[in-house]
Amino acid sequence: MTQIAPLRARSEAEAARFPALLARAEHLAGTVLLGEHGRRRAGMGDDFWQYRPVQAGDELRHIDWRRSARSDTQFLRQREWQIAQSVTLWVDGAASMRFASGDTLPQKADRARLLSLAIAILLNRAGERIGLSGADLPPRRGDAQIERLAMALGQDGPDDYGAPQTTGMLSHGRALFLSDFLGDLDPVREALTSAADRGVRGVLYQVLDPAEESFPYRGRTIFESVGGTMVHETLKASELRDRYLERLAARKDDLRHLCATTGWLYGTHHTSDSAQSALLWLYNAFDGGHGR
C-alpha cells in the first residue's frame, strides 16, 4: 500500500509527458497529407480492383453473379490487395541521446522520439502495423497502439550508448533505427546483417547535435560521456577538432557503406534543423507510406 502513492505520482508525472509528445507528434504528422493507399494489385481488401474471367480453380462462391449475368462468361470480382506491412521501430534511449548543446536546442532523444512517433502516426494512418523492437510491443494497428508506443518510447535506457535490437522484428517487414550511432559500431553491424538476413529492410537515421558536427570547443578540457563512463582529457581542444571531424566522417561513411550492402537507407538529421523536413524525408524513405 505504501508503494502505491509514490508510484502513482511518478507514473502520472511520467504519463503527463506523453499527451504532449503525442500531441506534438500528431501535429507534426498532420503536416503530411495522405489517404488510404492500395497496393495497386488484386488481393485482400475492401476496394474494387477488377473483374476477371473465371479460371480453373476459382471457387464458385467468388463468382460475381451480377456481372456474369450481363454476359456469357462468368466473372470474378477482385478486390485490391490491401495488406499491411509491419514496421519495427528502434529508438535509442541511451544516455548519449540525452544531450543538447544549447538551451534552445532539443535533446537528441526528444527529437528522435518525436520523429518516430510522428512517422508511426503517419504509417498507422496508411494502414501499417507498427511495433517496437526489443520492447514487448509487437506490431499492431490502431490508435491504441500509438498510445502504447508513446508510453514505451518515454523510457530512458541505462546504457551510455545504445545498441539496436532485432528481437521482435518480423521477417520481410520494415524497420527504422533512430540513434546517434556514436557508440560501438559492431552491434549496429550485427543488427543490420541479421535484419537483412531476415529480409527486413529499412532506414538508418542518425540524429546528431550541431555541436557534434562542429566541435566548437577550445582550451584545456575534460570530455565526459553523458553517462560518465568515458573520459578524455585534452590540453587544447581546438587542436582536436580536425581529427574529430575526420573520425566522424569516417563513422558516417561506415554507416553509409553498411546500409548500401544491406539495402537499407541512411540519413542524417541535426537537432537544429526542423523536425518537419526530417519527417518528410522519413516519409519518403518509406515510399510515401507504402511499406513496399
Binding site: K108, D209, F215, R220, T221, V226, L235, L248
Partner: protein, 924 residues
Amino acid sequence: MTIGPIGFAAPWLLVALAALPILWLILRAVPPAPIRRRFPGVALLLGLRDDDSVSDRTPWWLLLLRMLAVAAVIIGLAGPILNPQDEAQANRTGPMLIVLDSSWASARDWPAQEDLLDSLLAEAGRNARPVGILQLSDPETPVFQAAETWRTRLTGLAPSAWSPQPDAFEDAANLLGDENFETRWFSDGLARDGRQTLLDALQDRGPVTIHESAVPIYALTPAVVEDDALRLTATRANPGPARDITVEAHGRDPSGAQRLLATQDMTFEASAKEATTLLSLPAELRARLTRFEIAGQSHAGAVTLTDDSLKRREVALIAGREDREGLELLSPLHYLEQALEPTADLLDGSLSDVLPANPDVVVLADVATLSGAEQADLLDWTDRGGMLLRFAGPRLAASDVSRSDEAPLMPVRLRAGGRSVGGAMSWGEPKELAPFPESSPFFGLDVPSDVTVTAQVMAQPDPTLADRVIAQLSDGTPLVTRKRIGQGQVVLFHVTANAEWSTLPLSGLFVQMLERLAISSSLALPDLAELEGTTWQPAQVLSGSGILEDAGTLPGVDGTRFVEDVPGPDFRPGLYDGPDRRLALNVLPSDTTLTPVSWPADLPVLGLDRPPEAALGGWFLAGALLILMADILASLGLSGRLLPARATMSALLLALLLSPQMADAQDSSMSEADEKALMAASEVVLGHVITGDRSLDNAAQAGLRGLGETLFFRTSVEPADPVSVNLETDDLSVYPFLYWPISPDQPIPSEEAYVKLNEYLRTGGMILFDTRDANVAGFGASSPAGRKLQRLARPLDIPPLEPIPEDHVLTRTFYLLQDFPGRHTGRSVWVESAPPDAEQVEGMPFRNLNDNVTPVVIGGNDWAAAWAMDDRGNPLFPVGRGFAGERQRELAYRFGVNLVMHVLTGNYKSDQVHVPALLDRLGQ
C-alpha cells in the same frame, strides 16, 4: 632616487623587478585549469593524442600581461612621485614667512600665486612648519600658525587695487619681530622704494626666496582729453620687443547696460616703455564712457575709470525776449550758442520744460522777472548744485528786480537804470577790463585791449559786494559777480550776452571765461583750494583684479587727498561722489613710469609655475588591477569558458545590479500606470475601486468580468477585461464606469483622490455604489456599510438623489426593467433626481428628464456577486433558489446591461420616444 621627472619614495623595492624573469618561467609552466564538459562524441575522441608542442603553455601575451601587472604592483609600491620637490628645500624646517606684495600688479598672476602658495603650504604642513603671511599692501604683524589653517583661509586672500606705500615696507620691517624664519617673497615685479629695507630685514632672519612672474605687465594711465579726441597712454615695466595691445572702451548703451563701445589698438615700439594713441569717439559715445581697459590684463592697473571730466555739459539757454526774425546777430543767445555748441549739449525750451531734465547750467539772458513757481524751482535746482548764469540787458535794467532787496537768484543788488559810457550822449571813453584778481576763477587769462564795455547795470555797494566780484572794469565797477547758493552758484554778467553793450561776446576772452566757469569745457580736477574741506563718499571701488564693486560702508575721504595722496587701503581707487560732481580715482596717476625691480644677484628668484607634486602609486596599483581584470577575461577566453552569450548576460546582470534600485522601481511603476491607462483608453474597460478587502475585490473583478461577458454576447459593447482601479494613483478619466463596493472598514481616499473623483463625476463618469447589505435599513445610516457610504460620499460632488422613477431612462436603455435585483432584491436604487419642472406631456409615456448620465447609482443589492463568473462562465455565487434564482440572476445581468448602455449612450433612449413628435412637427 629620481628617473626623469619621477622620483621614488622607496626605490629599493624596484629591485624586485629583477625577479620578473623567474616568475615568467614559473607561470609559463603552469597550464590553465581544465574545464569539464559532457560530450557524447567522446567515443570518437578516445585515443587521440595531444600535440606536445602547442597547448600546455600559457601563451606569451598572457604571460606578458601578468608580468606587466606584477611590475605595476612593484613600481606602485615603490612610491613613484611626479615632480618631487627639491630635497634641500623640502627638508627645511623652522617657521616660514610668506611675504605677498598683493598689489594690483599681482592680480593678473594671482591664480598661479594661489596654486604655488597652496603647494607651499601643503609642503609646510607635511613638515609641521608654522607659517606666517604678510601682505605688503596692508601690513600687519605676521602670525605664525599651522599651515593647514592658512590653507583654509587661502581663498580669503586677494590682491589689492593699490600699490604698497613706501612706508609700508618700513612698517613691515618693523613688524617682523626677533624670531628667525625662512622667507618666500611673492613679488609683483615692480620697483618700489623701501624694498631693499625690507629685504635686508628679512635676510637678517633667514634665507629669502623670491617668486616672481616673468610675464610682462602693462598698465593704463588715465585718459586725457585732447582737442576732440581722447589720448590713451599705456606703459610697461620692461622695455622689451615691439608688442601690440588692445584697449577696450566700456560704457553704457542707451538702455543703461554696460557694453563694449570701442576698441583701439596700441603699439609698443621695441624697447619703448610707453605707448600712446588717440581715440576719437562721437560726443554721445564719449559721454557714456565709464572705463578703459587693456584687453587680457585682468588687474586694476590696466583699468582707468572715467568721471565727469569726459562728459559734455548740458546747458539750457533761455532768453527774455523772442528772437526777431532776420536779426540773428542781435539775438541775445547768438554768441552763447556759437561759443557753447562745439563743446556742450544745448537745451531749448521754457524754463519749466527744461528744469526737469536737470541741466548742468541754465543761462538766463536778460530775463528779469520769474514767476513764483519758476523761481522756486530754479532756486531748488541751484541749491542742489546747479549753475545759473545770468546776463544783464535792457529788461533787467528797466525792472525792479533786486533793487531794494537782493533777489535770491541775483548775486548783488542793482542800481536803477544802469549806466552807459562812451556813447554819443555821454562823457568818457568806453571802459576796458581790469586784470583779474588772484581770487577770481578767471585769474591768469589775458585781457585783450579791444574789449570795451559801453553800457552795464550797476551793483549797489554792499558789505558783501567785494567778495562777490570776480571781474571788474578798469574803473573798479563790477562786471561779473558771483554768489553761492547751497551747492550751486549764480553768476551775473553785468552786460548783455550779445554785442549791444560790450564787445566782450565778440572776443576770445568770452569763451575762455565760460570755460573757466566750467560751463563749456569739461571739468578738470578741482584745485586744492576748491577741494579743501569737502568730503567725498566712495560710490564704487576697484578690486585688485580690476572689477568695480559696490563701496558698501567705506568711510568718506577728505577732498585734499585727491591732490596730495596716492591710493591706499583707506583711499581706494574707484568712483567718489562729491559736492557737485563725481571724481574717479585711478590706480595709476598720469605720467607714471613702471620700473622693474632689480634683486641682488645672489638672491634666488623663482617663477610661479612650479609643477605640482603628484603621487603616482595609486595609479600604478589601479593599472595593475585593471590588467588583472583583463587577465581574468583572457584566461576565461583561452580556456573556452568565456561564451559570448554568457558574457553579455553577466554584463547585463551587472548593469542591473548597479543601476539604482529606486529609479528602476519608479520607472517601472510609471510605465505600468501609463500602460494601464493606455490599455483602458484604447478599449471599453469597466473598473472597480480597490477596497483593500481581497475577497471583495476578487468578487468585484469576477462580477465585472461576468457583466463584460454578458455585454459581449448580447450587445455591441465588447468590453476588455475589467480593471482594478486605485483611486490614488490611477487616471480615472479613461474608465466610463466604476463599481465601488462598500465595506465598513475600507480606507477613506486622500484629498487628491477626491479631487480626481469629483472631476470624474463632473465630466460624465458614473460610479455604482453598492453597500451589499440589501439595503436592510433602508437608504439610511443605520447599517455599517451605509454609514461608511455616507462618510465616503460626503466630500463628493453628488447632486440631489431620488429612487429610480418608473420612467427613468435606466428602465429602458436595453431591456425593459422595473426591478434591479442583484444577489438581493432590495427595491430602492437611487439616481440623480429629475428636475423639479419635469412634467409628463400628454400622450407621451415618459417625462423629459435629465440630459446627462446620472453620476452615481446607489443601491445595496450586491450586483457584482450576481454577475460574477469564473473563467469558464460558471456563476460563482448562488442567487436565490432554483429557477426563480436563475431568473433573478438574469434580471441582474439585464440591469448591468442597462447600466452600461446608459453610461455609454446617455439619454439616447429618452430622445427616441420624441421622434414621432419631432417628425410630426417637421411635417407641418
